[in-house]
C-alpha cells in the first residue's frame, strides 16, 4: 500500500548543490585566523634519522610552529591496527618518523604557518641528517634471507602469515587427474580519488571540543583512534565529514596527518588546515593490490575442480595501519569464488618493503584473488582443451547449495555465501555478450589481421560488514524529517537511498527528508562507508529507526483523532483513519503532539525520534559476471575495450540509477588496473608514479559504455534483502579486461600472467611469442 520508493530510479537529492558549486569539500572549510600545515617528507626510501632541526623554520616570519617526532612526547603514540592475527608482528606507523624513515614520503617534521606557501618555504629551512640504508622494494626479494630488514621484530620482513584451510587438500591433489600451477601477479595501484585528502582542526572556545573536518570514510573510527592517540576522552573530539570527493577505500584509513592537524591545532591554539597535494597523494596514500600469487589447482580430466592450493605474498609497504593486513586476508578467503572447491589451502604472507603502507582499495583482496582464479581458469581451460565457459559452468555453485559455508573465517566472520543464482546470472551474461557467436567473429577478425578477444570474469564480494551501523530518524515539531547516519559516503548517492528507505516507512516524499552523515556530535556510534556497507548496514539501521517512528506516529495520530492505532494509515504526508481520508492529521500535528508538554497518550515518552543500531556480523555476498570484448593493435599493443556486459546480483536494489553508476564507475577502475595504472618504484625505492603524467587513470576515450543486467536474489540476512555492490565493478573489471586481452593474443604463443597490460607489455608479449607482425618488430 502507498508509495513504494525502494526500487525507484529517482534522481539524486545530492546533486543540485554539487552542480551549483555550492558543495563544501574539506578544502572549502575556512575560519578567520586559519593556519596551514605542511609536512617535510623523507626523500629517502630507507635511512636512519640522525637529527632533525626545526629551529630555522620557526624563525621565518609567518611561521607559527614547527615540530618533529621529538615534540610528540617521550613515547609518541602509534597508529593502531584493527586486525590482529596470531602471527602478526606489527609495525605500527608513528605520526612522524622517530629514528628511521622507511619510505619516500614518510613525514619527518611539520610546519604551521599563516599560508601554505609560507609553510612550504619553511620546510626548506629544516635541517635533517640521514644515514642511508639499503632499501628493498620487491616483496619476493624482501622475504629472502639476507634482504635489508625494515623492522627488528620481523627480521625476515614477514609481518604476518595467515593460513586459510578447508577440506582435505592433500587428498584432493593426490587424487587429481591434473594439477596445474601458475604464478600470477597483480601490480601496485590504488583509488586515486579526484579530491585528495584533507583535515581541518578547530578547537571550540566554548566547549573546548576539538572539531575536525576530514575527508574520511569513517568519522567515528577517526574520533575513537584520535582520542586514544591524544589520550583525551572521546567527548573532547568531534569529527565531521563534509562533502567527500571520492574515496574508494583509501580514505578508510588513519593517516599521520589525521593526528598531526588536531595535535598542531591544540599546540598553537588556532584552527589548522592541511590539504594534501597530488604529489603527496601519490607518495603517501594507501597503496593497494600488489600481490604475487603462486596458485595450484587440482582437477579431474572433465574439468571438475577438486582443490586449490596457493601462497600469496602481499606487498604491505613499510608499516601496517588499521587495515594493513586486510587485503592479504580477504584474498585468502576470496580465492575460491562462487565455485564448488571442496578443498582449499591458502597461505597469505604479508611482506614489508620500503614503499608506502598498503591498505584496502575497492574490493580489498577480492580483485587480487579474482585475477588469480579467473586467469588460472582460462589457462586451465586451454590446457584441458575445454571451453572456458563450460569449465566455469561445471563448477559454479547452484541455488540448491545455498547457503554455502566455505568453512573459512575472514576478519573474524565466517565466510558463508548467503544466497545467489550463479548459473542463471552466468547464462544471462553469456547471452547478452553473444559468447556463443564470438569464436566465429574472432576467427573472421584474425583472418583480417585483427586481434579481438573476449574475457569472462565471475566475481563475488564480501559486503555490508559488521559489527553495526547507526541511524536516527527524527521528526521536528514542524513536521520535517531528518535522518542522521553513521555512514560517510563519498559520492554513492547514499542520501537519496536512505531517504527512499525512510519514505516507504513514513510515506512522506523522499526529497523532503534531510539526510546528515558522518558527524560524531549527532550520532553516538557509527562505523562509516567502506566494504559496500551503506545499503546493508546504514540502510537497515534507517529502516529500523523509521519503523519505530512510524509506529509512534500512528499511535499519536490515533490518540489525536480518538481511534485505535490499528485503524490509522500513513499516506501522502498525513495519517488518516482507514477508509476516511478526510479524518487526518499532518506530520506537523503529530510531531507537535509528541513534543514535551504535548497531547500524548498516557505513558508515552515525549519526542518523535528513534536511534537504532543494526548489529550484524553475517555479511551478505553479492556477485556478478563481467564479459569484456577488446581489440589489440598488433603493431602497437594498444588495447581498446569495445563491448562490456555485466550481470549483477546485489539482492534488492534500492535505487537502480545509483547501482548502475557504481557498476560503471567500478568497471572504469578495473579497466584502469588491467591496462594502465601502476605505482612504480625504482630499485632504490624512489617512486616513479608521482603525477597524473606518469600514473594514468582512464579518461572518456578509454572507457566503454557498460551494458547491465540485474538479478535480484534477496539476501536473507537483512529485512530489505539487500547486498552491497559498490566494489564489484572494480573486482570484475580488472580480470574481465585482462582475460580479454589474453584471449586476443595468447593464440600467438604467449601467456598473460601479470597486469597492467600496458601497450609496451602487450607488444612485448606478442613479440616474445615470435608472432608480432614484421612491421612492428622493425620499428622498435
Amino acid at each position: 500500500m502507498g508509495v513504494k520508493m525502494v526500487g525507484a530510479s529517482v534522481r539524486r537529492m545530492e546533486d543540485p548543490r554539487l552542480l551549483r558549486g555550492e558543495a563544501a569539500f574539506v578544502d572549502d572549510i575556512r575560519f578567520p585566523g586559519l593556519l596551514h600545515m605542511a609536512v617535510l617528507r623523507s626523500p629517502h626510501a630507507h635511512a636512519r634519522l640522525l637529527s632533525v632541526d626545526v629551529r630555522a623554520a620557526r624563525e621565518l616570519p609567518g611561521v607559527v610552529d614547527a615540530f618533529s617526532a621529538a615534540d610528540l612526547g617521550a613515547e609518541p603514540p602509534g597508529i593502531p591496527f584493527f586486525y590482529n592475527p596470531e602471527s602478526f608482528r606489527p609495525a605500527p606507523q608513528y605520526p612522524l618518523a622517530t629514528d628511521t624513515v622507511r619510505y619516500v614520503g614518510e613525514g619527518v617534521a611539520v610546519v604551521v604557518a599563516e599560508s601554505r606557501h609560507l609553510a612550504e618555504d619553511a620546510l626548506e629551512l629544516i635541517e635533517v641528517d640521514y644515514e642511508l640504508l639499503e632499501a628493498v622494494v620487491d616483496a619476493y626479494a624482501a622475504i629472502q634471507p639476507g634482504a635489508p630488514v625494515l623492522h627488528e621484530n620481523a627480521p625476515d620482513n614477514v609481518a604476518a602469515t595467515m593460513v586459510y584451510e578447508s577440506g582435505d587438500v592433500e587428498a584432493a591433489f593426490a587424487g587429481a587427474d591434473r594439477v596445474i600451477s601458475k604464478r600470477l601477479d597483480m601490480q601496485r595501484y590504488t583509488g586515486i580519488p579526484m579530491e585528495t585528502r584533507g583535515v581541518v582542526g578547530h578547537r571550540d572556545a566554548v566547549t573546548a571540543e576539538m572539531t575536525i573536518w576530514a575527508s574520511t570514510q569513517w568519522p567515528h573510527t577517526m574520533r575513537t583512534v584520535l582520542a586514544g592517540m591524544l589520550a583525551v576522552p572521546a567527548r573532547s573530539i568531534r569529527v565531521i565529514t563534509p562533502d567527500i570527493g571520492g574515496g574508494f577505500g583509501i580514505k578508510a584509513d588513519f593517516y599521520p596527518e589525521d593526528f598531526l592537524v588536531p595535535f598542531a591545532a591544540g599546540r598553537v591554539g588556532r584552527p589548522v588546515k592541511w590539504i594534501e597535494d597530488r604529489n603527496e597523494h601519490f607518495l603517501t596514500i594507501a597503496h593497494s593490490r600488489e600481490q604475487i600469487h603462486e596458485v595450484e589447482i587440482a582437477l579431474r580430466d572433465d574439468g571438475t575442480i577438486l582443490g586449490l592450493r596457493a601462497r600469496h605474498i602481499t606487498d604491505c609497504g613499510a608499516y601496517q595501519r588499521p587495515l594493513g593486513l586486510v587485503n592479504a586476508s580477504l584474498a585468502g578467503t576470496s580465492l575460491a569464488g562462487i565455485y564448488r572447491v571442496p578443498a582449499l589451502r591458502v597461505e597469505a604472507v604479508c611482506a614489508s618493503t620500503n614503499k608506502a603502507p598498503a591498505s584496502a582499495y575497492r574490493g580489498a583482496g577480492a580483485p587480487e584473488a579474482t585475477f588469480a582464479r579467473e586467469r588460472l581458469l582460462d589457462i586451465v581451460a586451454r590446457e584441458l582443451g575445454m571451453d572456458r565457459a563450460e569449465l566455469r559452468r561445471k563448477n559454479l555453485l547452484t541455488p540448491e547449495e545455498m547457503p554455502y559455508d566455505t568453512g573459512l573465517v575472514s576478519l573474524e566472520a565466517a565466510v558463508i555465501l548467503d544466497s545467489g543464482s550463479f548459473p542463471a546470472a552466468f547464462e544471462q551474461a553469456l547471452d547478452m555478450a553473444d559468447y556463443a557467436g564470438f569464436a566465429a567473429r574472432q576467427q573472421a577478425a584474425r583472418e583480417e589481421g585483427r586481434l579481438i578477444g573476449m574475457g569472462i570474469c565471475v566475481y563475488h564480494q564480501l559486503t555490508g560488514t559488521g559489527p553495526f551501523e547507526g541511524g536516527s530518524v527524527r521528526v521536528d515539531p514542524t513536521g520535517e524529517v531528518t535522518i542522521n547516519s553513521g555512514a560517510a559516503p563519498q559520492g554513492q548517492g547514499t542520501a537519496t537511498m536512505l531517504a527512499q528507505i525512510a519514505a516507504d516507512e513514513l510515506q512522506v516524499p523522499h526529497d523532503t527528508i534531510k539526510v546528515v552523515f558522518g558527524d560524531t556530535g549527532r550520532l553516538a556510534h557509527g562505523m562509516g562507508t567502506y566494504a559496500s556497507r551503506n545499503a546493508v548496514m546504514a540502510g537497515t539501521a534507517v529502516m529500523m529507526a523509521s519503523t519505530k517512528v512510524r509506529e509512534k506516529a500512528l499511535a499519536l495520530a490515533a490518540h489525536l483523532v480518538e481511534v485505535d492505532p490499528s485503524d490509522m494509515v500513513l499516506e501522502d504526508g498525513y495519517a488518516h483513519v482507514k477508509g476516511v481520508p478526510t479524518t487526518r492529521v499532518s506530520w506537523a500535528e503529530i510531531a507537535a503532539a509528541a513534543t514535551p508538554g504535548g497531547n500524548r497518550p498516557e505513558g508515552m515518552e515525549p519526542d518523535l525520534e528513534s536511534v537504532q543500531y543494526f548489529e550484524n556480523m553475517a555479511a551478505p555476498y553479492s556477485y556478478g559476471i563481467h564479459i569484456a570484448e577488446v581489440e589489440v593493435d598488433p603493431d602497437t599493443g594498444v588495447t581498446t575495450v569495445g563491448r562490456y556486459v555485466v550481470v549483477n546480483d546485489a539482492g534488492t536494489i534500492v535505487n537502480p540509477r545509483n547501482a548502475e553508476g557504481q557498476i560503471a564507475g567500478g568497471v572504469a577502475q578495473g579497466l584502469g588496473g588491467a591496462l594502465m595504472e601502476e605505482l612504480v618504484y625504482a630499485p632504490d625505492g624512489q617512486p616513479q608514479s608521482t603525477s597524473f603524467l606518469d600514473y594514468l587513470i582512464p579518461g572518456s576515450l578509454d572507457v566503454p559504455d557498460v551494458e547491465i543486467g540485474h538479478l535480484e536474489t534477496k539476501s536473507p540476512l537483512n529485512p530489505l534483502g539487500v547486498k552491497g555492490m559498490g566494489e564489484g565493478g572494480a573486482i570484475g573489471g580488472h580480470s574481465a579486461v585482462a582475460n580479454a586481452v589474453a584471449d586476443a593474443i595468447e593464440h600467438l604463443g604467449c601467456t598473460v600472467t601479470r597486469t597492467p597490460l600496458k601497450p609496451a607489455t602487450v607488444w612485448e608479449l606478442m613479440r616474445s611469442a615470435g608472432a608480432a607482425p614484421a612491421g612492428a618488430g622493425t620499428t622498435a
Binding site: L60, M194, G491, V706
Partner: protein, 170 residues
Amino acid sequence: MDVDERTTADHVGLQEKTITVTVNGNSYQRTVPVRRSLVDFLREDLGLTGSHVGCEHGVCGACTILLDREPIRACLMFAVQADGTELTTVEGLTWGEELHPIQQAFWDHHGLQCGFCTPGFLLTTYDFLREKHGATEPEIREALSGNLCRCTGYQGIVRSVQAADETWER
C-alpha cells in the same frame, strides 16, 4: 638556506600586486601575492570555492574555468596573469534560481557521483556545446578527454552532454 635570504623583500613569493578581474559579471579589485595561482585566488580571495583543485599540474581539469570565453586550467596560471580579464566559474553558470540546462542535464542523466570533478566538466561542456550542435558521441568523448572523473566511468557524463545538446537553446 639562510633565513635572512628568505625573508628579504625581493623574495619573489612575498611580492604583491593589485589586480582587477571580472568574475561572473562582478568586478573585483584585490592585492595578491604574485605567486598565488588563479584557482587559489578564486577560492581564497573571492570565496568562490566551486572551482576545485585536483592536481595542480594541469591534467585533471577540475579547475577548468573560462577566461575571456576560453577554457583554461586555473591551476596553471597566476592570479596576476588574469589582471584585466573576464572569468566564468561554475557559480556563474546557474541562471538565477534555475539550473543551467547543462547542470540540469547532468542531474537528470546521472552525470556525477562525488561531484568534485563536476564543475570542470560543466565548464568544458559549456565551451564545447556553445559552438557545437548535434555532436556525435565520439566528438563528445573527445571534447571531454581533458577532464578526469574517477567515479562515473563517463557514460553518465556523455549522456548528460548529449541531453544538454538537445535542451540548451543557444
